[in-house]
């Protein structure tokens, strides 16, 4: 009977530490796992963008402007092929507008090569030129089509993923460090310094976020290099993000300080160190981690919005926002909708994953929830 | 028989209620039967898990969704509007409930602060309840009725009280207001669910006196629920002792307390601190209430009973038997010794 197994399980739960418990519950949360693996996948794609990209992201293929997606096939009217292939591109001129129109040439098969040579790059200082997939004989292939300059969307998407995700991480880290420092100062000195800093954060929050970012970003001189801008943007994201984080840290700390169990521990003779490390820190840290995870979406969205407008990252740096700049013109999207939907889909999936992980963590960390 | 001559206001018959819970099914009330007459105060005493709240929920029709009532159970209520009806046969959202609740059946809850929403003035509550059940009254009439009732429950300045918000009143005053609110529609049946538990002891005494006075004045029937036998003693004519959802003993209050006919009752009585026992350790009951998912077989009290008969108490379920003076008890030990000719009263006394 189930009753016989329960006592042993119950015992286990009583003796494992808080962290192990959180991890066990998190693993059980199916959506959380899904979100985690999705993000991991995206991060890996970004890290190995060089290897995975069939074509150089900035290369302009003049024979394939606004080309349609070249999806891999194994099978078509001509028969089955063990090696996957894509259809070639042929370019016609539109008789009315005289603009070149690229379409799929179903008569032409371009076979895919694996682990073959392509454009050069460096990985950890080692110069390499091997890529996972390329077109045979060095032909350029475009899995998701090209933009109005003939640049491969798929490759650009890989690099953009790397940048957008890393900016999110750096932004959150910056905000966190700033929040700790300033929040720490605020809490340590207390009194008037604390009061002033709190008032200041409240007032900063009145200003709408994106206009505020834009105001700061507009101040970048036009001649800054793109990496300088990248760095500056992370600083800004952090600068604006820290008040919220700091406020949450502070309120969490204050509310926990007054909990009955802290009083009980003090009365029982526990030292301050023990109270903080054994009692306060676990619940405190779990909320902080959750807050950090929830901050990612905002960072990513802010960077995307800024870059979309042209006030954020600028080419040749690639991010999802930069990719969406192509989507600003409606005629372009109507012709090649993937230019809009591919980055949009990545954004959607990334944010959803973060939110789901955050929720799963929150559920797992909540001591009052019955997980049976 | 003329409806008004029927002395029984409420008849609970074979009430059996289960709950679906995560671990299984919990039997909350098991074959409970009792009558409540007009102009009578019945006390129901029991610890947590005894099923007192669930019984009350069934009388009011507010049983939670996962509760299942046995189809053979009945709760017959002698309504002035609908005649004799079985409350258990009414569907949860049936319109009849809105005419019964607050109008013929009233309830006084345990926590006066939690029961009043802080955003409405006291007058608004009276207006709401009077408009619902005694429609057609003008504002001044309502004010008059409310003020009268507030005066009767001992509020010193009724008109000022009507203009106040609940959070501006003390706990005792709020409970008085709630009593007034319940009585203003002149219900026949009042359920008092631990009305004094959340109050100071001195206020408790005042409220009990007030309830007794009002009961006499308005000829109310009250079911007074409490876990405190001492409080029950002060107010109830009859007392029903419950344990784990079953009736253990029933009888006139003084009778039951002086001459308990059930081991559980006698332990409860012994546990009441008495000024004579000053200096002696407090008497407690052995063991603890079992997990509702692990209900004892046979008599529910047998694991903790000092008089347990090993061969019978754990195997069979004792019946609720009548004894003299309208006393009822559910106990094998008592049955055995009564049939042997030993006087009933001697068994469980101190």
């Amino acid at each position: 009977m189930a009753k016989k197994n329960k006592p042993i399980d119950a015992q286990k739960i009583h003796t494992t530490t808080y962290w192990k418990l959180v991890w066990i519950h998190f693993k059980k949360h199916k959506a959380g796992k899904f979100g985690f693996y999705t993000l991991l996948f995206m991060a890996l794609c970004g890290i190995f963008a060089d290897f995975l990209a069939p074509v150089h992201p900035q290369a302009r293929d003049s024979l394939a402007i606004l080309a349609p997606a070249q999806l891999p096939h194994f099978f078509d009217s001509k028969g089955f092929s063990l090696r996957p292939f894509v259809y070639g591109i042929k370019t016609k001129r539109d008789p009315i507008t005289l603009r070149p129109i690229a379409t799929l040439d179903k008569s032409k098969r371009v076979y895919l090569q694996f682990f073959s040579h392509g454009f050069k790059y460096t990985l950890l200082g080692i110069p390499l030129d091997v890529h996972l997939i390329t077109g045979e004989n060095g032909q350029k292939i475009h899995f998701l089509g090209t933009d109005e300059f003939g640049r491969d969307l798929f490759s650009r998407l890989l690099y953009a993923t790397k940048t957008s995700l890393s900016i999110g991480v750096l932004g959150v880290l910056t905000a966190f460090v700033l929040a700790l420092i300033i929040g720490g100062i605020s809490g340590y000195f207390g009194g008037i310094i604390d009061y002033l800093i709190q008032r200041f954060t409240e007032i900063i929050r009145v200003i709408p976020v994106i206009p505020l970012y834009m105001g700061l970003a507009a101040a970048f001189p036009k001649d800054w290099s793109s990496s300088k801008i990248y760095f500056a943007i992370t600083i800004i994201l952090g600068l604006i993000g820290w008040p919220t984080l700091s406020r949450r840290i502070r309120s969490q700390f204050l509310s926990l300080k007054n909990e009955d169990y802290v009083l009980a521990a003090t009365v029982a003779g526990a030292s301050s160190y023990r109270i903080i490390s054994r009692h306060l820190l676990p619940s405190f840290i779990s909320y902080i981690i959750i807050d950090l995870v929830i901050s990612f979406p905002y960072m990513i969205l802010s960077e995307t919005a800024l870059s979309f407008i042209g006030l954020g990252l600028r080419p040749p740096v690639l991010s999802w926002g930069v990719l969406l700049q192509s989507a600003q013109r409606i005629e372009v999207i109507v012709h090649s909708p993937l230019l809009l939907f591919a980055p949009a889909f990545c954004i959607f999936v990334a944010i959803l994953s973060f939110v789901i992980i955050g929720d799963a963590l929150r559920d797992a960390a909540d001591p009052y929830k019955t997980h049976y | 028989m003329n409806r008004d001559q029927n002395p029984t206001l409420l008849q609970v018959k074979n009430l059996t209620v289960c709950f679906r819970a995560h671990g299984g099914t919990i039997l909350a009330v098991n074959d409970l039967s009792f009558d409540l007459n007009k102009n009578q105060i019945l006390g129901i005493v029991g610890e947590s898990g005894s099923g007192k709240s669930v019984t009350m929920q069934n009388i009011l029709g507010i049983l939670p969704k996962n509760g299942i009532v046995d189809p053979n159970s009945q709760i017959k209520f002698n309504s002035s509007r609908y005649g004799e009806i079985d409350l258990l046969k009414l569907k949860p959202k049936e319109k009849k409930w809105f005419k019964l609740r607050g109008s013929e059946i009233g309830i006084i809850f345990q926590e006066p602060s939690a029961v009043l929403s802080p955003i409405y003035k006291i007058f608004a509550y009276f207006k709401e309840v009077i408009d619902l059940h005694l429609p057609g009254k003008s504002k001044t009439e309502i004010e008059q009725m409310a003020a009268d009732m507030l005066a009767k429950v001992g509020i010193p300045n009724p008109s000022q009280c009507l203009a106040q918000y609940p959070f501006e009143l003390s706990g005792g005053m709020k409970q008085r207001v709630l009593i007034a609110l319940t009585l203003v529609t002149r219900p026949k049946l009042i359920i008092a669910d631990e009305p004094t538990t959340a109050l100071d002891v001195t206020v408790q005494a005042q409220i009990l006196r007030l309830l007794k006075k009002l009961q006499q004045e308005f000829e109310l029937s009250i079911i007074f629920i409490s876990h405190n036998l001492g409080v029950i003693r002060q107010i109830a004519d009859q007392v029903l002792v419950m344990y784990l959802g079953e009736a253990m003993e029933l009888g006139l209050t003084e009778d039951v307390i002086n001459r308990p006919l059930h081991p559980y009752t006698s332990l409860l009585v012994k546990a009441i601190p008495h000024f004579k026992s000053k200096g002696n350790p407090l008497v407690t009951m052995p063991g603890s209430i079992p997990n509702p998912l692990e209900r004892p077989t046979g008599c529910p009290f047998h694991p903790r009973c000092p008089f347990v008969l090993n061969d019978v108490c754990s195997k069979q379920h004792p019946a609720f038997i009548n004894y003299e003076n309208g006393r009822k008890s559910r106990c094998f030990y008592l049955e055995k010794h009564k049939s042997r000719g030993v006087p009933v009263e001697t068994h469980f006394r101190n």
């Binding site: 507009a218 101040a219 989507a327 409606i330 | 959202k93 809105f98 955003i119 918000y165």
Partner: protein, 330 residues
Amino acid sequence: MMLRFILQRFIGMVITLFIVSILVFIIMQLPPGDFADRYAFRKFSGGSVNITQQDIENIRKQLGLDKPQWQLYLDWIGGIVTRLDFGTSFAYQTPVIRIIKKHLGYTLILIFGSLLLVYLIAIPLGMLAALKRGSFFDYFISLTGYAGLAIPPFLFALILLYFLSKYTDFSIGGFFSDQFRDAPWTWAKLLDLGKHLIVPLIVLTWPNIALQAQTIRATMSDEINRPYVTAAIARGVPWWKLWLKYPLRLAINPVIGTIGFDVNRIFSDLPIVAIVLNLPELGQFLINAYLDLDMYLAGAILLILCFIIVFMNFVSDVLLACLDPRIKLE
């Protein structure tokens, strides 16, 4: 007592506005170069004359811009408060106030229309989700909470734009179709405006509806199980009146308390949506002003947006006090 409360909050509002204006001013002055630089450049570029630093200094003195920062701030804020003079827009070569007058109305329509829509939709949705906890409807509402965050308004606008232009010939973009743009006001024009407002309003309100519906669902679920609701049922209050009068009244409080936050959020999304949908309202002008480094215009618009936000915070405080007597009497 209520009056004192309102007065307190009002003074707080003024102080906040004052400090916000300082912050806005700092943002305005951040980009390198100022009005004088640009003016000099424009005036002399194309000509064969070499612009010296002295020339720029002269122009600066002429325009009164050579004073220390704090004095410039006082000039600026003084001008606004006394004469509604926000300075001159460099890009459009007109006083800023003219641009604001022309387009403020549309911004206000968008913000208040959005607010109204958010509450009209989110509150019933949240309430229903709480009442039918665990049902498919409830689950669906929870999902939209996620989606609301994951699809930012400007992306949503782009996607809607794509589908509308591909599959319909719904005239999208702008506030009016061509034939109505400069026409005098008629019912037909109003209808046209309404049609064009549909997409912006959907896109702007979407994340807030998701958020507030979630909030109401959570708070309402909390309140439903409270003793005062059971007590009201026991008094015989009928169902529909019961839900509105008791749990909902208290559940709404957090939403009313965050009106300012909702406005803030909508104003944050508005500029980019306005660019995508080509809506000539202040948000769009703000972005263009940033891109052109037209700082007087940018600062003015930013200040106005903040003013509306601070004002709505004030309104939300007062409303909250009206609805919850506990706050009034503290």
